[in-house]
């Protein structure tokens, strides 16, 4: 796919972010059925259909340039959105290699990587970056390797060290998150980090997920989809900035929900890293307004039913209590009760 970037769109203030019709059709709807229940739903991160968000291991879309600028704005205000403990340096290089290799291989029109021994030359055309550096020597890059490369990647990136039969969140770049904080979670183990999901612990899903991840293999990444909702196309809904976005949730009405309420889907990918034996967890957020969503009739019906019938504990956990009803009311006229076809394809 030839991506046409929309460098000027914004995720704050005037919120000019919009999805093109093509971006709407490739939106990763996380609901294969008309009802939703929490599950870990991990699958192998295998290439999907051409044009889909899973065609390549790391997806670049029309929002790439704008999202990188948004990240830079967040970092300028809060540099601690990037953190890495000292023993995570080898995993930082692993991540840099993973991202550079994937982008250069899958988007040769936009990125190039030339490797001559440990001397690497990286070209990022959309951001107009041309960098020669020595792989393994942090002094040859303007920032630490993980910060450097994730300033040029969409989505958040968390690196977990594996030891003592657990995973420890010990490096990351987090600026586009749904109400969690790297600063708060640094150094936590997998279970502490996933502590608050209701219903999940009782189902033992985290024990199973942890066991699965501890055995994650090189070259066999996995993925899952998660979702929530966000008011306005705001990427950075961090707890630190709750005062900026929290109040928005009380402003949603059935009349403005189409424009204000956004489904926020996270494509989460997990890779074993080769040199460090760590695991990198990428959390890529895709946003779609209700107004954009209803342009696909099947999705309008499906999302209406999912939200209407959502388990109350999940409504609460996902932070939807204040405006779920308004969104359901907005969507109701688009649901004629007709059955939806299985799967998530637009039709």
């Amino acid at each position: 796919m030839n991506v046409v970037f929309k460098p000027d769109e914004t995720f704050r203030d005037d919120f000019t972010f919009r999805n093109s019709p093509e971006a709407i059709r490739r939106f990763p709807l996380p609901f294969p059925e008309d009802r939703y229940m929490y599950s870990v739903n991990i699958e192998e991160h295998l290439p999907g259909p051409p044009g889909s968000v899973i065609e390549f291991p790391i997806d670049i879309d029309e929002h790439y340039v704008a999202e990188c600028r948004e990240r830079a704005l967040v970092l300028a205000e809060e540099p601690r959105r990037f953190q890495a403990l000292p023993h995570m340096m080898s995993s930082q290089w692993d991540c840099l290699e993973l991202i550079m290799e994937s982008l250069a291989r899958d988007y040769p029109q936009h990125f190039a990587l030339e490797r001559r021994g440990s001397r690497w030359v990286w070209t990022n055309r959309p951001l107009q970056i041309h960098q020669t550096f020595t792989f393994g020597d942090p002094a040859t890059l303007p920032q630490e390797p993980l910060e450097y490369i994730t300033r040029q990647a969409q989505g958040d990136w968390v690196v977990m060290d594996q030891r003592e039969g657990d995973l420890w969140c010990e490096a990351g770049m987090v600026t586009t998150q749904a109400d969690w904080s790297l600063d708060f979670d640094m150094g936590m183990s997998f279970k502490e980090w996933h502590g608050p999901v209701p219903l999940a612990h009782e189902m033992g899903v985290f024990d199973r997920a942890l066991k699965f991840l501890l055995n994650l293999r090189l070259n066999e990444p996995v993925r899952r989809l998660n979702w929530t909702m966000t008011i306005h196309p705001r990427l950075d809904t961090s707890p630190e900035n709750y005062y900026k976005w929290g109040p928005d949730r009380a402003t949603v009405t059935p009349q403005n929900a189409g424009n204000k309420a956004h489904l926020r889907v996270e494509l989460q990918g997990l890779w074993r890293l080769p040199r460090s034996n760590a695991i990198v967890f990428s959390i890529r957020a895709y946003l779609i307004s209700m107004q954009e969503l209803v342009t696909v009739p099947k999705w309008a019906r499906r999302v209406h039913r999912v939200l209407r019938d959502l388990h109350p504990a999940l409504v609460d956990y996902k932070g939807l209590s204040r405006y779920r009803d308004a969104v359901v009311e907005y969507l109701a006229p688009f649901d004629d009760g007709a059955p939806t076809s299985p799967g998530t394809a637009p039709e």
Binding site: H87, M88, D94, Q162, N215, R217, N219, E220, P274
Partner: protein, 320 residues
Amino acid sequence: MNHADTIVVRVVAIEQVTPQIKHFTLAPAAGGNFPAFSGGSHIIVVMRGVNRIHRNPYSLMSSPGQLETYEVSVRRMEQSRGGSHFMHDQVQVGNELEIAHPVNLFPLDKIARKHLLIAGGIGITPFMAQLADLRTAGVPYELHYATRSPEHCAFGGLLSEREPGRVQKYYDCTGELIDFEGLLSNQPLGTHVYVCGPAPMIEKVVATARERGWPDSHIHWEQFSAPPVGDAFDVYLARSSLKVHVVPDQSLLESIEAAGVEVPYLCRGGVCGFCRTKVVEVDGTLVHNDHFLSDEEKASGKTIMPCVSRARCSKLVLDL
């Protein structure tokens, strides 16, 4: 998990390093470099023999900083059921083999203040790659390496050269023994101990460390069991409706695979727990040879690790 995704390798050098150990240097058959890995990783080498396939785990010994080749050492097992004999007797320079991507079940702890490595015999192999990582890590470490005699001390010369003052060698023939008590009583806080070698050595190190109050999280060991030879028996795969005969020198896992049924695995050495399989019925006793199941689990007879364990019975029924 299946292993469709193997890498074809060419054997580029073979060296007899001790009377029992051969060292193999492998290069990707397609050219280029191997995938990066971390010290302590192993690969599964797939050997296609005339009428059976061996898949044995071997620790990667080459430096993780050098990816043009991978190196492994293979000890000839006296009581072998094939894999090590195949490597020793059949494999020649220029031959092709297949390997799976590296897996690390014996990694160094990245926040350790000091690493204490203890090797016995062929157990030196995972440490060779770890030492390469440690030389640049800036954390203190030392290696204690016991073998039968100087003649059996694989890579002894190389180690003394690369690790001056940090390697101590012990030879059984001159009565030198590693003083585990002394060694484990005298370490700075935050030290991690790693042991790889024969079962009695591992048991001794683990027991001594625990007695001295080492937390379990600071004690690491790796021991791949080779599947021991046993009696022949029949296994019925309930879900696939198949009957498979297991001959004395073929493992249960290999026999099942030969019948076309895939069982997930990582280590093929009784360590990782991946191949764990439910036992539906057995008219004799299970012979557990793994290091994964607890004693109670072994006694209950409800599950088996087919990569190394077998049964003394006429009929075993598995949920496969």
